[in-house]
């Protein structure tokens, strides 16, 4: 078990491009393998309820436990990953995600279901943190693209297995789906983890004239959270994350209010009911936008890309307020909102590592990543606004304003603060 550090004492020869792209691919595979734990969960809720009659709300507490452990423990897990390297941590977490779904397959009480969720959250958090952290360390020259491709594996990975899981639940029961997919996902993660490694000093290329400014020293996590720029990024992550989630959660009520949910819409030869169409392109665009905006940020800078993406998101949400009655515009604008939302998972990790360096990239981004957990806590509060005002309009105004504020902050708060912090380092 070697201490994996990007700034180890002995410099090593630079590795081939194939080696580091291979490392990126291994991370993406691990992310695809854990995507079902979050995005496939919804398929299991009704079958579990039909068997045990625990109620959907009680069953969904398992998902809440999963989200809490998957997000809030990443700083702690990330620190161990930065210290001991990704191999041992991801391999053991592959075991955890398998055990979690095996427990789910046998759970005959809510307590066991919650234990499975907690174990799954811990395992998924390690694998998520290690995969993104490794991408950030291997690609200092294309950090946005690398983080985006890895995050896309999580966002879109479940698209590959949703239909097989749904079919297995139908034919063999949800228990079999939990058992066999759990074991399969876990085994793949364990095997791929054996190939993972963090770069040694000198193994990665140092861009001669990087388009994106990078720090010259490595910040520890205790140092990083003492810098104001960290909390500016945290606030922006929460604003964009919560704003997007609030808007997305209101898509079905909007479609039902305007009575367009089942109106068929045709785009590029594909015809689906408007709401189904909107929710389907969610998965695709939510995955595609991560590497796309990450790549753009490698070329034009992180804050400039944030400004464009968050502004598109804010204006898209605002436009949806006025044009949602038209089924075609409803689908197109909701697609735009999804497209401009998911990039937070590539732009923030890249920016965080640009500022705080590679050595503690996993830990420092792990702390920033908890903004996802904070954002999700704010979403139920959107119901307060909906109930108080009697419609979803106020929620949309809030979501649009949060995104526009974040866009302005990217250029006029984050950028100058980031430059000052880097100049001091």
């Amino acid at each position: 078990m070697a201490m994996a550090s990007a700034s180890g004492p002995a410099a090593t020869a630079q590795v081939s491009e194939a080696t580091r792209w291979g490392q990126l691919l291994f991370g993406v595979i691990c992310m695809v393998m854990i995507a079902n734990l979050q995005y496939g969960w919804t398929l299991f809720v009704n079958p579990i309820d039909q068997k045990y009659h625990w109620g959907r709300a009680a069953i969904q507490i398992a998902f809440t436990i999963f989200v809490l452990t998957e997000t809030w423990l990443v700083p702690f897990e990330g620190y161990l990953i930065d210290k001991f390297g990704p191999k041992i941590m991801v391999a053991s977490s592959g075991g955890l995600v398998a055990i979690a779904w095996v427990i789910n397959s046998m759970a005959d009480s809510l307590f066991l279901l919650y234990v499975g969720a907690a174990i799954g959250g811990i395992g998924a958090g390690v694998i998520y943190g290690a995969s993104v952290g490794n991408a950030l360390k291997w690609f200092p020259d294309r950090r946005g693209l690398a983080a985006g491709l890895t995050a896309a594996g999580f966002g879109a990975g479940s698209a590959l297995t949703v239909i097989p899981i749904a079919n297995m639940i139908q034919s063999s029961g949800y228990e079999a789906a939990f058992l066999w997919f759990g074991l399969g996902q876990g085994i793949v993660v364990v095997l791929v983890a054996l190939l993972l490694k963090a770069p040694e000093a000198g193994e990665v290329p140092v861009p001669a004239s990087p388009a994106v400014q990078q720090t010259r020293r490595d910040y520890g996590p205790a140092e990083a959270i003492r810098t104001p720029v960290f909390w500016v990024m945290y606030a922006m992550f929460v604003m964009v994350g919560a704003g997007g989630l609030m808007a997305i959660a209101q898509l079905a009520p909007i479609a039902n209010d305007y009575k367009i949910a089942s109106v068929p819409v045709s785009i590029l030869g594909l015809t689906l009911p408007a709401l189904t169409f909107a929710l389907t392109i969610d998965r695709v665009l939510n995955g595609v936008c991560r590497p796309f905006f990450g790549w753009v940020s490698d070329l034009i800078g992180r804050e400039n890309t944030m400004f464009v993406a968050f502004l598109i998101e804010g204006l898209g949400i605002y436009a949806l307020l006025y044009f949602a009655a038209n089924p075609l515009l409803f689908v197109i604008l909701s697609g735009l909102v999804f497209f401009a939302w998911g990039e937070i998972y590539s732009l923030f990790p890249a920016t965080c590592t640009d500022i705080y360096g590679r050595k503690f990239a996993t830990t420092n981004y792990g702390m920033l990543y908890t903004a996802k957990g904070t954002a999700s806590l704010l979403v139920p509060l959107a119901n307060v606004l909906t109930n108080a005002t009697g419609s979803w309009h106020a929620v949309f105004y809030v979501a649009a304003i949060l995104n526009i504020i974040a866009a302005v902050m990217a250029l006029f708060v984050l950028k100058p603060m980031r430059i000052r912090t880097m100049a001091r380092s």
Binding site: A57, A58, T64, W72, P221
Partner: protein
Amino acid sequence: MPVQLSQASSQDWKRWDAVFDSSFDAVCLFSFLGVILSLVFLLTIVPAFDDGLILTF
């Protein structure tokens, strides 16, 4: 053989000593506070507004 066991054990302890530093304390505190505050929020505030503790992603 007892000597080898002793050496391995000593190295393991050194490795863990390297883990338990001020940064480790910071991330533990960060994670611990996050979990506790989230639980308090979910158990006390959210049920007043929402049916069940349902998060959306």
